[in-house]
Amino acid sequence: MLRNETGPAAGSRNERGQDLETVQLISAAGERLSHPEFDPWVADVTEAQLTGLYEDMVVIRRIDTEATHLQRQGELALWPPLLGQEASQIGSGRALREDDFVFSSYRENGVAYCRGVDLTDIIRVWRGNASSGWDPFEINMATPQVIIGAQTLHATGYAMGIQNDGADSAAIAYFGDGATSQGDVNEAMVFAASFQAPVIFFCQNNHWAISEPVGLQSHVPIANRALGFGIPSLRVDGNDVLAVLAATRIALERARTGGGPTFIEAVTYRMGPHTTADDPSRYRDANELEDWAAKDPIARVAALLQSKGLLTTELQDAVQAKADAVAKEMRAGCINLPDPAPMDVFANVYSTPNSWLDRQRENYSRYLAGFSTASEGGK
């Protein structure tokens, strides 16, 4: 039977076992809550840094909105919005070191922003110009994965390599609640636990896998699952940037010091559609959206800054100006992207020549040349 509820994984306690606490450091109203275990991990966050996290979230929301507009205006073929998940992505993304390596799905554009990605590279794929945007080794972030959950194995393998190299960096895999049903994600946890690989499984439980509620994916809170693999698990309010930052730092420290993998469930909400091609009004209740709108990740940090007297008009103006500038830059990059050349269709299938492909390339090149000859002849 399908349960059209967000189910136990949404945060209610479950009679099957003891639930993990959902850690919160900033309430939805913007109060700073104390938590003895997590507080030390964010004790060093200065007011300037808190302001920085606020700015990051505003900027990536602006990037996300701009990309959605570009899609609506026909400049992008598709876009997967991250609206509502800004704290999960910025909190974790800002916890990482340069030499850590990210393996993400297609929705982690906020994480890519933290890694320093060129903005044009974010939208290259979605405009249809290329199959990927950036050089993974320049920002230590793999090409986003479309096959759900496949990247968790790549992160685990990369972490096994880190371990073999004797390095103290970590790999982090980003995936959603839907992905936890995939065999690959479960196999990745088996491998990570067996080899005690320095990998973080960062699950953004945004409650929806296209139209399927999280209750359909899991009958227990998702964070509980990792415990069955022998992987320590943390559950945080994914709309709370400080709680996410703290959890990711805890997991990174464990990975760097030989403690093996950690699972983090960041409980958040996909405020928008799955992609611009989706219509959530067909499957979800407007009331649910309203409830989550009241837990907005940016509004609560704004309220916290306000209570500290930091949310000045100057700050708000400056943050907005930066967000607008970034959006403008991305739009310009998008619209000015040159189309790929026809023969690029054959490029990079192999790293060395391939006789089958060489023949097809040559034949197609002759075919195309026929058109230019014909048009020249018609002049």
């Binding site: 993974p136 793999a142 090409t143 096959i147 096994m160 690959d184 990079n348």
Partner: protein, 336 residues
């Protein structure tokens, strides 16, 4: 030169590759202490350590998926799939990731992964232990697919596969593991023929007989038998299944005018179809008769007491040669 079994030759090739490049790691089920169910990795974990010869949990998709991550990190993983029929759980990682990452990343990320697959029948095993899944992979761009037929190639080509910056599926004919042959271990890899070249096994003038892997010795025997009847058969060992080295086959067919292809894998949509179509395109006017396929049937791999009916053997190959020659054969009167 030393005499060694086919299986030993692969082992020696793996050892050489591991000695020469510390980034080469072996991964698979039971490949450590046990040395693999076929003992192909025998002794390697003892000599190179558990971090380079990794006994993995029992999950094929994870073996390939973690190999992708290791390749991202700069390693050259060599994955063993225990039996042909166990490769399917890893199909997604092979086809969607291993094969396509180089293209997807516009050449930024290389996937120098070798996937060893003991394949084919003839060993009396239960289901899932005797399959020939090569066509699934030859149909996937981004992969290179090779199959070896003798100890020297086994030794040389495993090293070439590992040295390749592109992913390679290396199909090992498991029923030939105990065949002995001469292996020149001092062979300079850079001077050895490329793994992408086909090899003329037996020269002939009447019929071109194309095959690979486990059926190469059978085809050679068929050529000897045919010569007793005055038919000269040229046997070609493909070695590379993707891409296929068509030039020597084309040259042979231009000479003989007749083409027979034999493989254990099912007929429909198989490599035989690709070879027949390609050769027809390339030298239609030189063909004296339609290309002939002698293959396994379009059936799930049968119980072992029936496998001799499924697998092409010397007599079925000769029947195919008779068809190509227009001599009396099992389908006489039905052609055309």
């Amino acid at each position: 030169m030393s005499t060694m079994t086919f299986g030993r030759a692969i082992n020696a090739g793996l050892r050489k590759a591991m000695e020469e490049d510390p980034k080469v790691v072996l991964m698979g089920e039971d490949i450590g202490k046990l040395g693999g169910v076929f003992r192909i990795t025998d002794g390697l974990q003892k000599d190179f350590g558990g971090h380079r010869v990794i006994d993995t949990p029992l999950a094929e998709s994870a073996i390939l998926g973690t190999a992708v991550g290791l390749a991202y990190r700069g390693y050259r993983p060599v994955c063993e799939i225990q039996f042909d029929g166990f490769i399917y759980p890893a199909f997604d990682q092979i086809v969607c990731q291993v094969a396509k990452l180089h293209y997807r990343t516009q050449g930024k990320v290389r996937m120098p992964i070798t996937i060893r697959v003991p394949f084919g029948g003839g060993i009396g095993s239960p289901e899932h232990h005797s399959e020939s899944p090569e066509a699934y992979f030859t149909h996937t761009s981004g992969l290179r697919v090779i199959s070896v037929s003798n100890p020297q190639d086994a030794y040389t080509m495993i090293q070439q596969a590992i040295a390749s910056d592109d992913p390679v599926l290396y199909f090992e004919p498991k029923r030939r593991y105990h065949t002995k042959g001469e292996v020149d271990e001092s062979l300079d890899l850079s001077l050895a023929p490329s793994m992408e070249t086909a090899r003329i096994v037996t020269q002939g003038t009447d019929v071109t007989l194309v095959t690979y892997g486990p059926l190469v010795p059978t085809a050679r025997d068929a050529a000897v038998a045919a010569s007793d009847e005055g038919i000269s058969v040229e046997v070609i060992d493909l070695r590379s299944l993707a891409p296929i080295d068509f030039a020597p086959i084309e040259a042979s067919v231009r000479k003989t005018g007749r083409l027979v292809i034999t493989h254990e894998a099912a007929q429909s949509g198989g490599l035989g179809a690709e070879i027949a179509a390609s050769l027809t395109e390339r030298c239609f006017n030189y063909l004296e008769s339609a290309p002939v396929r002698v293959t396994g049937f379009d059936i799930p791999y049968p119980p072992s007491k029936l496998e001799s009916h499924h697998l092409p053997d010397l007599d079925r190959i000769l029947d195919g040669v008779d068809r190509a020659m227009g001599r009396p054969n099992s389908l006489s009167g039905l052609e055309g």
